[in-house]
């Protein structure tokens, strides 16, 4: 079983501490995505798993075997780079077969495995071309081919789609998902794009400044973000945050108010929230509606209106100067500069304490298994 474990993994480049203690369990066959803003250490962490960077302290094991001191080739991994890293002087066939050839695979077997990889990736017709004669998408395919031909137990992807145009990215994303399904191998995938993370992952690891902020399934992260960082990072458009004050707290929730809201009970666990605490209220734009039927109402002057047909995106500012966004139904015609009230349900609200940690929601939408 190709599981991967990280135990208190640290990495420093000279005096700069980049990876600050990562503990993580990845099960066999899981598709795990490391997501986080640029520079947070995703690539470094992946490269440590690959064996391209050594580990300052801590332990990494693959298949229950500590690999700290193993060279990359003995770790049972294959890696796909953002820049594809194809050898420019070799044909596609030679690129894909490079590792097999290096390891003295008999020519007949090499040939059949390269052909098999080409068949899986539908690139038989490209085998005799040089990388310079391929499009970006085709190069990406070859890079993936070079990875699968060696039957690795763990695939590592470092932002493999970021050099592709939008349409191709969606396509290739679907192909990677299918590949994972077909091969059943463990995959670790790095991206700064939360949409990629949401669409591909069994498990998302959100990183910030070298630390894990939350680990969970896409829907867990969406519905139960542990902190302001994850709440703001996962979901598009971004969650609205508003300063509010706790009026009182009890077992059935916390009553909040602000300049823009009347008092309202938010069903969250009381935790250690006390009256007078400064809190942050989080509400996703897609939970806003264009009428006043919700529990909380907020009104403001429309500063940006985008009618997309099936829905409308608006950005508005309240009298007290707070900006908020909403993704509302497409039927309501909204005019720029218009004063308008939006509303949302108390159940859809998230609350965060002064330290940015989430106050647990009592009414999280059930995840229904279809």
């Amino acid at each position: 079983m190709a599981n991967v474990q990280l135990r208190d993994v640290h990495k420093s480049f000279g005096a700069t501490h980049i990876i600050k203690g990562i503990d993580l369990e990845i099960a066999h066959g899981e598709f795990v995505v490391f997501v986080g803003p640029s520079g947070c250490g995703k690539s470094t962490l992946l490269r440590m798993i690959a064996g391209l960077e050594d580990i300052t302290s801590g332990e990494i094991s693959i298949k229950d075997r500590v690999v700290n001191d193993l060279p990359p080739k003995d770790r049972g991994i294959a890696m796909v780079f953002q820049s594809y890293a194809l050898f420019p002087h070799m044909t596609v066939r030679q690129n894909v077969g490079f590792g097999l050839k290096i390891n003295n695979t008999p020519p007949a077997e090499l040939e059949s495995r390269v052909n098999e990889a080409a068949r899986i990736l539908k690139m038989e017709n490209l085998l005799d071309r040089k990388p310079s004669q391929l499009s970006g998408g085709q190069r990406q395919r070859v890079a993936i081919g070079r990875a699968i031909v060696r039957n690795p137990e763990v695939f590592l992807f470092d932002e493999p789609l970021s050099n592709l145009d939008a349409a191709l990215r969606v396509n290739t994303r679907a192909e990677i998902a299918k590949l994972h399904n077909d091969l059943g191998a463990t995959m670790i995938y790095v991206t700064h794009d939360q949409v990629e993370a949401m669409t591909l992952a069994d498990k998302i690891v959100v990183l910030e400044a070298g630390k894990i902020r939350q680990v969970g399934s896409p829907l867990e992260l969406y519905h139960k973000p542990n902190n302001l960082f994850v709440a703001g990072f996962i979901g598009s458009p971004k969650m609205n945050f508003m300063e509010v004050e706790a009026v009182s707290s009890s077992a059935s929730g916390v009553i909040i108010k602000s300049a823009d809201f009347t008092e309202q009970r938010i069903p969250v666990a009381k935790g250690n929230v006390k009256a007078g605490d400064k809190l942050t209220l989080g509400i996703r734009p897609e939970n806003m509606r264009a009428d006043t039927k919700g529990d909380l109402k907020i009104s403001g002057k429309m500063e940006l209106v985008e009618h997309l047909g099936h829905e409308t995106f608006v950005e508005a500012k309240t009298k007290s100067g707070v900006s908020f966004t909403g993704l509302i139904d497409g039927e309501t015609l909204v005019k720029l500069g218009q004063d308008m009230a939006l509303s949302f349900k108390a159940n859809d609200c998230h609350l965060f304490d002064a330290a940015g940690e989430a106050v647990h929601r009592l009414k999280v939408p059930e995840i229904v298994h279809a």
């Binding site: 990359p72 420019p88 590792g99």
Partner: protein, 290 residues
């Protein structure tokens, strides 16, 4: 459209500067070759006019026969080509592999040693020639005569001291630094050893810099004068530049000088043409644009 005509018009004249430059470079060669075919008397009188560049008057290969009679031209040519070729091959290998280690491998003192090495760029051969002479005069060698000491009058004394140089290392280091490091990482993940990465991944991509280093090294070696003069008393090991002395005797036979110069220019031209082809081919095949 105005843009298309204006982009067409200069193309007619685009070659004019190139033609002028080519003429400047070709005239001395032309003069040398034409002169080598003329008797000394006519050669000197022709220098007053354009006739110097034309095959006119009495034309023959007599100067060539005379040159071969005066000096062992074949031997000198062989020596120079052998010494130069061996040194170029050795230097390309040693300098590229040390640059590989400076750029891609991690080892203690790496940057310091590279810095020290590069400072030797500013030291000319004239400064180290004497200490180097004293050094090579002590060195052991195992050859046809068994173990001997002192390298004077040999091929190795003209080859080994020049088989690595800071300039070539520098050229390779600069080139390697610009190669995407993912290529090396990808090869490592595929299981390639450092040696395999060197000769299967890096060197096939290093065509342009290899050609540049080869040309510079070739010219420097082929034009060596001071060092061979110091270390070869025996005619047997002398290169072409030393051979020139045979032609500057009391009465200088300019026709023979020109014939000799023409002969010793041939290897340079051959080398240059071959390398130019390899150079263009390597750029085309790697897809790395120069």
């Amino acid at each position: 459209m105005s843009t298309s005509t204006s982009s067409l018009r200069p193309s007619r004249w685009r070659y004019l500067p190139l033609v002028l430059v080519a003429i400047v470079f070709i005239f001395p060669l032309e003069f040398m070759i034409m002169s080598s075919l003329k008797p000394s008397q006519q050669l000197l009188s022709d220098t007053n006019s354009f006739r110097a560049f034309l095959p006119v008057g009495s034309i023959s290969l007599d100067n060539y026969y005379a040159a071969f009679a005066r000096a062992p031209v074949g031997l000198f040519l062989f020596n120079s080509v052998f010494i130069t070729a061996t040194t170029v091959v050795l230097a390309l290998f040693l300098c590229s592999i040390s640059a590989f280690s400076f750029v891609f491998l991690q080892w203690r003192g790496r940057d310091t040693i590279l810095t020290i090495l590069l400072t030797t760029l500013v030291i000319p051969i004239e400064i180290i020639a004497v200490p180097l002479l004293l050094l090579v005069n002590q060195l052991p060698w195992v050859g046809l005569h068994g173990l001997t000491f002192g390298w004077l009058n040999s091929y190795q004394v003209q080859i080994i001291p020049f088989s690595a140089d800071a300039l070539s290392v520098f050229l390779f280091v600069q080139y390697f630094k610009d190669l995407p490091k993912e290529l090396i990482e990808a090869a490592r993940i595929e299981g390639a050893s450092w040696w395999q990465i060197y000769y299967k991944v890096i060197m096939p991509l290093a065509g342009p810099v290899t050609a540049t280093a080869a040309i510079l090294k070739f010219l420097a070696m082929y034009n060596q004068f001071l060092w061979p003069l110091m270390v070869t008393q025996a005619e047997q090991y002398r290169p072409v530049m030393i051979g020139l002395q045979y032609f500057f005797q009391l009465n200088i036979a300019w026709g023979e000088v020109m014939a000799y110069l023409t002969l010793i220019t041939v290897p340079v031209l051959i080398f240059y043409l071959v390398l130019q082809r390899a150079f263009i081919a390597s750029i085309a095949s790697t897809g790395i644009k120069g």
